[in-house]
């Protein structure tokens, strides 16, 4: 080996070499810039998503209300049969008293200011307090969707009359009510305490929240014990053979089956074969449980794996049986990890929509479900129903529904993170 075999000597000092190095560093910086660009794009898109939802949704958290004095005359409402009373006339009279000058066909336009269901609201109020019959009752009634939007400046007064859903006369009336201090915009409790409605101003999430709660409850009651039992068996007891291999592969693949296929399963097996009722949170919960099961099994196994073998050996060495070792020592130590994973799995189940659509949890249901077998919606399917509704007012409701859904998800994930940080230990 001599110098003669060295074929090339690099001239690092040359301008050419320096230029080459500059080019290489530029390429390096370019790749870095692409990375920053990609991340900025992803974060930017997330920001746009959240900002649009917040911007369209926040207005649904307040509701325009109109204060109206209803005269409940004993002629129209009989004390012995209140539900049969003529509340339509009660409402009409109340509006006429506010605007005595309005007559004939225009009274219909006048009544459009209030929500279509005003007479039922009045009826329920009278049923709750029959003593008002023969007297006057002042109620705050939701304004109908167009006037709600007029008040929230989503309908521009500058548009030509034929291009907006409220005409000039109605605006004058509304402004008069406003001047009298009868218009208010309080927090929209109805969003949380009303069930669904065809009228945006009355539609709320109560039914969906209760439905989602029931479905998640069923999902938890099934997937948590079954998932832990399966994981303990596979991790601690199962012999290494064909069958357990098959189960393992199967669990991994099940985790990646499209959610809509689980919906088909629920439809064919739970509804069609076992004849369980459509739209029931019980069925929704069972389908979600099957979807969540692989997640819980996988996280539980990871948590069991992280418990050091020395703990098991110590317990077995004391003469504990394998079952005792696991229930007394291993499971309690793995519990924080299992709980964290379970909450995250349930959060995923809460956002799942497609399988619930197939088992009919997108029905139009105007009261919260009273039990597991009653027809119901869930939060994400309610969002889907509203997103599909043509009324303008539902756009804001949809965004608000999404914000509520995201709120629940954030709370669940926060609990999971808290648990992980507080309880999990490293060995």
């Amino acid at each position: 080996m001599t110098d003669s075999t060295m074929t090339v000597a690099v001239d690092w000092t040359s301008e050419q070499g320096a230029a080459r190095r500059r080019r290489r560093h530029a390429a390096d910086r370019r790749l870095r810039a692409y990375g920053i660009g990609a991340i900025s794009l992803a974060i930017g898109l997330l920001a746009i998503l959240i900002i649009t939802l917040a911007a369209t949704g926040y207005k649904a958290f307040v509701q325009t209300m109109v204060e109206v004095d209803f005269t409940i005359s004993a002629d129209l409402v009989k004390a012995d049969d209140i539900p049969a009373g003529n509340f339509r006339a009660v409402v009409a009279n109340a509006m006429s008293k506010l605007f005595p000058e309005v007559e004939g066909r225009e009274t219909r336009e006048l009544k459009q200011i209030l929500t279509n269901n005003t007479r039922f609201i009045v009826r329920d109020a009278v049923i709750a307090d029959p003593s008002v019959i023969g007297g006057t009752m002042t109620l705050r009634v939701p304004a109908s969707d167009p006037f709600d939007q007029l008040n929230k400046r989503e309908i521009s007064r500058d548009l030509p009359e034929d291009q907006r859903r409220v005409n000039d006369r109605q605006i004058t009336w509304f402004d008069k009510l406003d001047a009298e201090g009868r218009i208010s915009t309080p927090f929209n409790w109805g969003l949380f305490f009303n069930a669904d409605s065809r009228f945006p101003e009355l539609a709320g999430l109560a039914g969906a929240i209760v439905g989602s709660f029931y479905a998640l409850l069923v999902c938890f009651l099934i997937s948590f014990p079954v998932g832990i039992a399966a994981a303990v068996y596979l991790e601690e007891f199962a012999p290494k053979n064909r069958l357990t291999d098959l189960i393992e592969v199967n669990i991994n693949n099940l985790a990646a089956v499209p959610s809509v296929v689980f919906g088909l399963l629920g439809l064919a097996v739970f509804l069609n074969f076992f004849g369980l009722p459509r739209s029931a949170p019980l069925v929704g919960g069972m389908v979600l449980a099957l979807m969540t099961l692989p997640t819980i099994i996988i996280v539980t196994r990871a948590a069991l794996k992280s418990v050091p073998p020395s703990i098991r050996e110590a317990a077995l060495g004391m003469g504990a049986s394998k079952h005792q070792t696991i229930t007394h020592h291993v499971l309690p130590l793995a519990l924080p990890g299992i709980l964290t994973g379970t909450i995250i799995g349930l959060a995923q189940a809460l956002g799942e929509t497609a399988p619930l659509l197939l088992i009919g949890m997108n029905a139009f249901i105007t009261s919260p479900p009273g039990g597991l077998m009653e027809a119901s919606t869930a939060l994400p399917t309610q969002v889907f129903i509203w997103a599909d509704s043509p009324e303008r007012g539902f756009v804001a409701r949809t965004s608000a529904g999404i914000l509520v859904l995201l709120g629940f998800l954030i709370v669940m994930n926060a609990i999971a993170i808290f648990l992980r940080q507080r309880l999990e230990r490293t060995w």
């Binding site: 080996m1 060295m6 090339v8 000597a9 000092t13 080459r20 190095r21």
Partner: protein, 278 residues
């Protein structure tokens, strides 16, 4: 070897070397380190080490594991930069040029100071591509045939050419451990460095492969300045001309290898060499 290359680093160097050890014959020093300390986060791994490395000779760093010898070696090509929490202080000069200064291009520095790692780490590419990688990124070859020449001559210098000539297209990961390590040496010398750092290059190899590498190191010494970290005193005695002994992050003693092994000045060196600890 190529003086142009050296002068690039030595442009500002006027009076490069001060000879520190009075009893020594060689002396052109290639690398000079002054008060070098390395911190990993809050933990100090190396304490004020000063040493000179002679040119075209093999210098061995010995000492028990965790003594900072590898950490120190990685300062010479600034590989500690790749560890987020590592911080290096002190001066390291190669041909009189401070390498930690901001105007030093680390890419150029590492092309001149090659490195061979503890475990052979060929890229998951063909044998040819492994050796051609360096010349390609540095634009050393101007044509395909020139690149072929560089690859072949590097493989020859690494003593691997005869074994792999007919299977240059096969993956480098398919070679035996010793062959892989020689491939990594070939890969390092393909960019024509001035210094080669070797971080326990034989620790993952069997005795026969180790002997082969040691022979190779002895041959390479004619053209390159070699610094080798080793665990084994015998290896240091066999391949190196100078030896530096490290303990707990401190440089204990350094000097000509024969003197270190026959007549160490420090008791700790003697204890280590005679096997009292290690």
């Amino acid at each position: 070897m190529n003086d142009t290359a050296m002068s690039a680093l030595a442009t500002e160097a006027t009076n490069p070397q001060t000879v520190r050890t009075p009893d020594e014959h060689p002396t052109n020093f290639k690398i000079g380190a002054n008060d070098v300390s390395v911190f990993y986060g809050n933990k100090q791994a190396l304490f004020d080490v000063s040493i000179d490395i002679p040119e075209r000779a093999v210098t061995a760093f010995i000492g028990p594991s965790g003594c900072g010898k590898s950490t120190f070696l990685r300062c010479f090509n600034r590989m500690n930069d790749t560890i987020d929490i590592a911080r290096v202080t002190g001066r390291i000069e190669i041909d009189g040029r401070e390498i930690n200064e901001s105007d030093i291009d680390v890419v150029e520095l590492r092309a001149r100071v090659g490195m061979v790692f503890q475990k052979p780490n060929p890229f998951p590419k063909s044998i040819f591509e492994n050796v051609a990688y360096g010349p390609r990124i540095h634009g050393i070859a101007s044509s395909k045939s020139e690149l072929d020449d560089i690859v072949i001559s590097s493989l020859e210098r690494a003593g691997l050419a005869s074994e792999v000539k007919d299977r240059l297209a096969e993956p480098g990961t398919g070679l035996s451990g010793g062959q892989q390590q020689r491939l990594c040496i070939a890969r390092a010398i393909a960019v024509n460095p001035e210094v080669i750092l070797m971080d326990e290059p034989c620790s993952a190899l069997d005795p026969i492969a180790t002997a082969r590498i040691e022979e190779l190191i002895d041959e390479l010494r004619q053209n390159y300045t070699i610094v080798i970290v080793t665990h084994s005193m015998q290896q240091a005695a066999r391949v190196s001309q100078r030896t530096a002994m490290f303990h707990l992050g401190y440089l204990v003693e350094e000097g000509p290898t024969d003197q270190m092994f026959t007549n160490p000045r420090e008791k700790r060196t003697q204890d280590y060499i005679t096997g009292r600890f290690g």
